[in-house]
């Protein structure tokens, strides 16, 4: 089936362009429509041919740019050349502009072209046949006033954007939710409800502490205040199990909390403050507990 189509197209192109058999037409494209052409319209046609490498298409055999024939002016000529080992492929594109003034619709044509090839044993040429089309005047004949001939401008058909609209809103909603989520997870300040938990406050206060001598003890105090606030009473190491069963969101931090109480007791009450907990550790711990508190 596919091969049939290719053969048919080649045959059509050969007939349409009246090409010599030594010049192999690979592709030929005429303007998409042949009617309703008006003054000023630009019509382009192109042809892609394969010839023996011995032949060349000299610049002199191309039609002159600006040449006008029967109101059809050649506006542009371009040639693309790609050389193979034994053949050369030329892609010639001709652009014409219509400059004719007619009061009635008439049949016009893009002129035929004969582009002579040189260098080979035979005298070959690339023949591009004329291409007919209907010219339509801008204004109908006999209308003294163009105003009467004016037609209401038809409103262009609108592209349906509802799907894009929905996607945009969905994306924006996701973006906002994502941003709120990021704020909820990371923000220190109380910007959203449920953000100002006991450990969020403790973390803020601990971050504000400088390097003063009592900073560590003050940080411990803030941590204890947070624990007490959540527990609803003073929380001590021997009540941790009860605290965790009442607040299971802190269960994953069980070991760290137990260690904190041990170190806090050592720092606040022991005569030898071994393994004293550092301010930086308390900052990290308060942030992790804040995450537990926020359920992230």
């Amino acid at each position: 089936m596919k091969s049939m189509i290719v053969v048919s197209l080649s045959l059509f192109a050969s007939l349409a362009f009246g090409q010599a058999t030594d010049v192999k037409i690979l592709n030929a494209i005429n303007p998409p429509t042949s009617n309703n052409i008006q003054m000023g319209d630009v019509l382009s046609r192109s042809i892609e041919v394969e010839v023996d490498a011995a032949y060349q298409l000299p610049k002199a055999s191309l039609p002159m740019k600006g040449e006008s024939r029967n109101g059809i002016e050649l506006r542009d000529v371009s040639v693309q050349t790609s050389k193979g080992s034994s053949t050369t492929i030329y892609k010639i594109t001709l652009s014409y502009q219509v400059f004719v003034s007619a009061a009635k619709p008439v049949v016009m044509q893009l002129p035929d072209e004969h582009l002579a090839l040189i260098g080979g044993a035979k005298a070959l040429s690339i023949d591009i046949p004329a291409w007919k089309f209907w010219y339509t005047p801008l204004v109908a004949e006999g209308i003294p006033n163009a105003k009467d001939n004016m037609q209401p401008q038809s409103k262009p058909a609108l592209i349906d954007l509802s799907m894009h609209d929905a996607r945009l809103w969905a994306a924006l909603t996701l973006l906002v939710i994502g941003l709120l989520g990021l704020v909820y997870v990371n923000a220190d300040k109380r910007w959203l409800p449920f953000m100002n938990g006991a450990f969020a406050q403790a973390h803020r206060n601990i971050k504000k502490l400088g390097h003063e001598q009592a900073a560590n003890k003050n940080a411990l105090m803030y941590m204890h205040q947070a624990f007490n606030k959540i527990y609803g009473a003073n929380l001590f190491a021997n009540e941790l199990e009860h605290f965790l069963s009442a607040n299971p969101k802190f269960l994953k931090m069980k070991q760290e909390i137990a260690q904190f109480f041990e170190q806090s007791n050592a720092a606040l009450f022991a005569s030898r403050a071994a393994n004293a907990i550092q301010l930086q550790e308390l900052k990290t711990l308060s942030k992790r507990l804040r995450d537990c508190e926020r359920g992230v």
Partner: protein, 353 residues
């Protein structure tokens, strides 16, 4: 070298103390907390008042502990006709038919007396209370024209809270002499209750007590060791501030925002804990720290003994006095959960300033 000797001594005594607990736990089930508190009282050299219903095992508990401590054990039953001299001497007709006088339970063992058990102390008259309280405080008494010293004696008394007929309420000054009042409750655990009902070994108190190893402690060295222990355990400024707050909260609970259901806290307290009571509290807390193998006092040590040390020392206004057992428990619980340890803030901020 000196420190090393102390450490060895402390560790050695600790192992004996823990062994005492294990020995008593073999025969007394479901009373681990009471046993630990009794152990603390022994090493803090304090007298103990046991409070509980009839037949909950108070006497067996005391006999078991007395057996572990070693030394002489004496006992007297509180009755309405008991007189002070019944503790000092008793008279009887000898084999020759002549009246004779012998030393009473308080003097009989002399300096070897380690445990004096006063059963149902609230049945005895106030005169008897007065004598006992003097002996408890001074640990010596004059009789038969000589001085009897009782340096190693601790008094374990019990009172039955259920019956009120023919009893004399122990006045607050008297209660204050006791280091602790320990409630002895029936175990809540169903399996333990079953064992107490069906295991025949629990039905022979005397043979049960004999299963406990005797002389686990050297009773005549307890006083000296107690001094070593007390000086070994240190307390930080923060903890001292906290203990002061606790004391103040027993006097003015409303100042700390303490609230009790259906009670006007402003009118509840007549007299809070005494200086002697707070001194005893810290003494007992230090023993707890030592048993937990620490050399520093933690708030948990105070909490471990707070109720038993403080509740019986509180004097409520008369309108609340008849509910004292319940209210004292609620108040001490509220104090511990309300008075914040990080009133560390005060000391910390003061230091920072």
């Amino acid at each position: 070298m000196h420190i090393a000797t102390h450490d060895i001594q402390l560790a050695d005594w600790r192992s004996h103390a823990l062994k005492l607990e294990k020995e008593v736990q073999k025969v007394i089930v479901g009373q681990d907390k009471a046993i630990r508190l009794m152990n603390i009282a022994i090493f803090a050299r304090g007298h103990v008042l046991l409070e509980g219903g009839v037949g909950v095992g108070k006497t067996t508990l005391l006999q078991s502990i007395a057996r572990c401590i070693g030394g002489a054990y004496e006992r007297i039953e509180g009755t309405v006709d008991l007189m002070p001299n019944d503790l000092i001497y008793h008279t009887y007709l000898g084999e020759d038919g002549r009246p004779k006088i012998d030393e009473g339970p308080l003097l009989r063992a002399g300096e070897n007396l380690s445990v004096f058990f006063f059963n149902e102390i609230n049945r005895a008259r106030p005169q008897v209370h007065a004598l006992m309280l003097r002996v408890m405080a001074e640990r010596h008494i004059s009789a038969f024209k000589k001085e009897y010293r009782l340096p190693h004696m601790v008094v374990f008394a019990d009172r039955n809270q259920v019956e009120k007929n023919e009893t004399f309420e122990i006045p607050s000054a008297a209660r204050d002499r006791f280091m602790m009042e320990i409630p002895i409750d029936i175990p809540a655990d169903r399996e333990l209750r079953k064992a107490l009902m069906f295991d025949v070994k629990f039905q022979h108190a005397e043979s049960l007590t004999k299963q406990v190893e005797s002389n686990v402690l050297q009773f005549d060295q307890l006083n000296a060791f107690s001094d070593v222990l007390q000086s070994h355990i240190k307390s930080s400024d923060v903890l001292e501030e906290y203990a002061l707050d606790l004391w103040e909260s027993t006097q003015n609970p409303e100042k700390f925002g303490i609230k009790l259901d259906s009670v006007d806290v402003n009118r509840l307290i007549h007299t809070g804990a005494s200086p002697r009571g707070m001194g005893m509290l810290l003494k007992a807390a230090r023993v707890n720290a030592w048993l937990m193998n620490r050399d520093s006092l933690y708030p948990e040590d105070i909490h471990a003994v707070f109720h038993e040390l403080i509740a019986h020392r509180l004097v409520f206004n008369s309108m609340y006095e008849n509910r004292r057992t319940q209210l004292a428990r609620e108040l001490t619980t509220q104090i511990l959960s309300t008075v914040a340890v990080p009133s560390q803030a005060k000391s910390v901020q003061a230091k920072a300033a």
